[in-house]
C-alpha cells in the first residue's frame, strides 16, 4: 500500500518513507483491533462457543422493543448533546477567537491561556468539580444565584430528568470551548496583513470586515471544528460516566451512545456484559459517524474554497 509509483517517473521512495511510520503504527494498533470489534458484532456466544450469526445482533438491537427503546433514547439524547455544542460552543468559540485575534488587544495571551484551561482538565476533575458546585449539599450554586436574587431558579439540575442532559451538555461546552477558539484563532492569524489592509483601504472595518473578509477565509476551519464536534459528541462517554455513572441517571435521561455501549459491553450491576451486543452498538455508532463524516467530506468540504497566500 505504501509504495506508490508513477508510470513515467522513477519510484518516489520518499512518499513511502513519509507515510510508512504513521501508517504502520496506525494500522497495527488502531485499524486491526477495530476490525476485530466489527467482526465480534457478527458473532454470538452460544453454549460457550462463539457462533457466526450474521446480522442477528442488529435485528435484536432494532427489533427487540427493550433494546430498541434504549437505543433510540440514547441516540435522541446524543443528538441533543450535539445540537447544544453546535449552538453554544462553536459560536462562542468563534466570537472569542475573533476578539482575541485583534492585533492591538492587550492581555490577549492571558485571556487565551485562561479560557483554554478547562479544556486541559481531565473528565475526572471537571465532572467532580461541577458535581460539587451544583450539589445542593455544598450550596455554591444556590449561594451565587442568591447574590443576584435568582435563588428561586436553583434546582439540583444534575438530579432532574428534565435538566440533567442539558446541564451536562453545558458542562461539556464549558470544558471544550478552547478547541474551536484555538483552531479559529490560528486560522485568523494566518490571514495575511495585506488582505486586511486592502480591506481597510476599501473602507471595510470592524464587524463588516469580520463578516465579509475574515469569515469566508476561515470557513474551512469552521468546517473542521464542526466535524470534530460531531465526532467528539458521538464518541462522548467520560463526562457522563464520571458524573452520572454507567447507568446515566436519573432514569437513563443522560444516556448517550457511548454510555449505552459501555453498559452493554462490560455489563453493570445486574446486567451481564455482552461483548457481541456491545460490538453491535459500537458498529452502529461507527456507521452513524461515518455517515456524518462522509456528508461533510463530499457534501460540504468540496464546496469550500481554499486560498493560498
Amino acid at each position: 500500500m505504501t509504495t506508490k509509483t508513477a508510470k513515467t517517473r522513477p519510484v518516489r521512495w520518499h512518499i513511502a518513507v513519509f507515510l510508512a511510520p504513521a501508517v504502520l503504527i496506525y494500522t497495527a494498533v488502531m485499524i486491526l483491533p477495530l476490525f476485530g470489534t466489527l467482526q465480534l458484532s457478527l458473532f454470538r456466544v452460544e453454549n460457550n462457543a462463539s457462533a457466526f450469526v450474521g446480522l442477528d445482533n442488529f435485528h435484536t438491537l432494532f427489533g427487540d422493543p427493550r433494546w430498541a427503546a434504549s437505543f433510540w433514547n440514547a441516540l435522541k439524547n446524543n443528538v441533543w448533546f450535539f445540537i447544544i455544542h453546535m449552538l453554544v460552543q462553536n459560536p462562542i468559540g468563534i466570537l472569542l477567537a475573533a476578539l482575541l485575534s485583534h492585533p492591538k488587544l492587550r492581555f490577549s495571551t492571558f485571556y487565551r491561556t485562561a479560557i483554554f484551561i478547562p479544556t486541559i482538565l481531565s473528565f475526572v476533575i471537571v465532572g467532580f468539580a461541577w458535581k460539587l458546585i451544583l450539589s445542593p449539599l455544598w450550596g455554591i450554586a444556590p449561594d451565587m444565584l442568591n447574590m443576584i436574587g435568582l435563588k428561586s431558579l436553583f434546582a439540583p439540575w444534575l438530579g432532574q430528568e428534565r435538566y440533567a442532559l442539558t446541564a451536562l451538555s453545558l458542562i461539556s461546552v464549558w470544558q471544550f470551548i478552547g478547541i474551536p477558539m484555538m483552531l479559529i484563532y490560528a486560522a485568523l492569524l494566518s490571514i495575511p496583513d495585506e488582505i486586511i489592509e486592502a480591506a481597510e483601504c476599501d473602507g471595510i472595518t470592524g464587524a463588516a470586515q469580520f463578516w465579509k473578509i475574515k469569515l469566508p477565509l476561515i470557513l474551512p476551519s469552521i468546517g473542521i471544528i464542526s466535524i470534530l464536534t460531531f465526532v467528539g459528541n458521538f464518541n462522548a462517554f467520560d463526562l457522563i460516566y464520571t458524573t452520572q455513572g454507567a447507568l446515566a441517571g436519573p432514569n437513563y435521561s443522560t444516556d448517550i451512545l457511548g454510555t449505552f455501549m459501555f453498559r452493554t459491553f462490560f455489563g453493570f450491576q445486574l446486567q451481564v456484559g455482552d461483548r457481541n451486543m456491545g460490538a453491535a452498538i459500537a458498529s452502529v455508532m461507527f456507521f452513524i459517524i461515518l455517515a456524518g463524516v462522509c456528508l461533510y467530506l463530499f457534501g460540504i468540504q468540496r464546496r469550500l474554497r481554499r486560498y493560498q497566500f
Binding site: M1, I15, V17, F18, L19, P21, A22, I25, Y26, A28, V29, M30, L32, P33, G36, T37, L95, L96, L99, H102, P103, K104, L105, F110, Y111, R112, F116, I117, P118, I120, L121, S122, V124, I125, F128, A129, W130, L132, I133, W138, G139, I140, W174, M182, L183, A186, L189, S190, E200, G206, P220, L228, V231, D238, F286, L290, V293, L297, Q308, F309
Partner: protein, 279 residues
C-alpha cells in the same frame, strides 16, 4: 502599523466579553483550589471565601501525600504524554506532507484511510488491543500506552496538518526544488517551520486526551509502577468520597501538573502562532 479598527468603546466591549468568559472558565477551578486549603467546616460554611488564618488547613494534602504515590504517577504521565506527542507530531507531519504535496495513486484513499481514525474511538478496539499487548508482553508497561496514544493521535494530526500544509505556497517549495533541495529537506527545512502554529495546536490537542485518559491506563497498565496521574486521582477520589478535604486536595493536585505542562506548551504555542510564519 496603525489600524482604523481600534476605537475605545469597541476595545472596552471586547475586554468586557473576554473578562466575563475568563471568569466563567476559571471560577470552578479557583473554587476547588481555594477550598482545598481550608478546614472542613470552613469549606461548607464559606465556600466562596479564600482561606484565612483561622480556616487555613493542609489536612487534605497530608492525607493525599500519605496515601498516594503522586510523584511516581506524575512521572509516568509525563513520560507517556511527551513521548506520544513527539511521535504523533513527527510521524503525523510526515504523512500529512506526503498526502498534501504529492499526487500518487491511492492518495485520496490513503487520506480517507487515515481520517477513519478521527471518526472511531480507539476504545472500540480495546479487547483486541489488550490481546495484542498481552501477546507482545507489553501489558503494564508505559510502551503499551505510548503505542496506543500515538495511534490515537495520528489521524487528527494528519487531518489538521494537511489542511494547513495545503496553504503553504507552492512557489516556495518549487523554488526549493530548483535550488536542489531534496524532498526531505524541503519538508524539514521549508514546510515544517511554516506550519509551526498548526504543529503547536496539534501538540496541545494531542496532549489533552492523552494526559486525561482513564481508560487505557486502567486496562493496559493498572500496576502501581505504571499508574498515571488521572488513574491515581480517580482511584483516590473513589476511596475518599466523603472526605471533602482529601477530595478537593486530590483534585487540586491533579490540576497542577496539567497546568504546568500546559504553560510550558502554551509558550511554544504562542511563539509558534505569533511567529506568523504563514504570512
Amino acid at each position: 502599523m496603525s489600524r482604523a479598527t481600534s476605537s475605545l468603546p469597541r476595545t472596552i466591549a471586547a475586554h468586557a466579553i473576554l473578562i466575563t468568559y475568563t471568569i466563567i472558565a476559571l471560577f470552578p477551578v479557583i473554587i476547588i483550589v481555594i477550598n482545598s486549603f481550608k478546614a472542613r467546616n470552613a469549606i461548607f460554611r464559606m465556600p466562596l471565601q479564600p482561606p484565612t488564618q483561622e480556616t487555613f488547613s493542609l489536612i487534605g494534602y497530608q492525607t493525599v501525600i500519605n496515601q498516594g504515590n503522586f510523584f511516581l504517577y506524575f512521572q509516568n504521565s509525563l513520560i507517556v504524554t511527551v513521548v506520544s506527542i513527539a511521535l504523533v507530531l513527527v510521524f503525523g507531519a510526515m504523512a500529512a506532507f506526503a498526502l498534501s504535496e504529492y499526487r500518487f495513486r491511492g492518495n485520496t484513499l490513503m487520506g480517507l484511510y487515515l481520517a477513519l481514525g478521527i471518526m472511531i474511538p480507539i476504545r472500540l478496539g480495546t479487547v483486541s488491543i489488550l490481546e495484542l499487548m498481552v501477546a507482545s508482553g507489553l501489558v503494564n508497561t508505559l510502551t503499551s500506552l505510548i503505542l496506543v496514544y500515538t495511534a490515537q493521535g495520528l489521524p487528527l494530526a494528519v487531518f489538521i496538518l494537511s489542511e494547513f500544509m495545503k496553504q503553504v505556497s507552492d512557489d516556495l517549495k518549487n523554488a526549493g526544488r530548483i535550488d536542489g533541495l531534496s524532498e526531505y529537506r524541503i519538508f524539514f527545512r521549508l514546510v515544517l517551520p511554516l506550519v509551526r502554529p498548526a504543529m503547536a495546536t496539534v501538540a496541545v490537542f494531542t496532549m489533552i486526551p492523552i494526559w486525561n485518559d482513564l481508560w487505557f491506563p486502567l486496562i493496559l497498565a493498572p500496576a502501581e509502577a505504571t499508574k498515571t496521574v488521572t488513574l491515581g486521582a480517580q482511584m483516590f477520589i473513589g476511596q475518599y468520597v466523603t472526605n471533602w478535604n482529601a477530595v478537593l486536595s486530590a483534585l487540586s493536585l491533579a490540576i497542577l501538573p496539567v497546568l504546568i505542562l500546559y504553560f510550558f506548551f502554551s509558550r511554544q504555542l504562542i511563539r509558534g502562532i505569533t511567529a506568523g510564519a504563514v504570512k
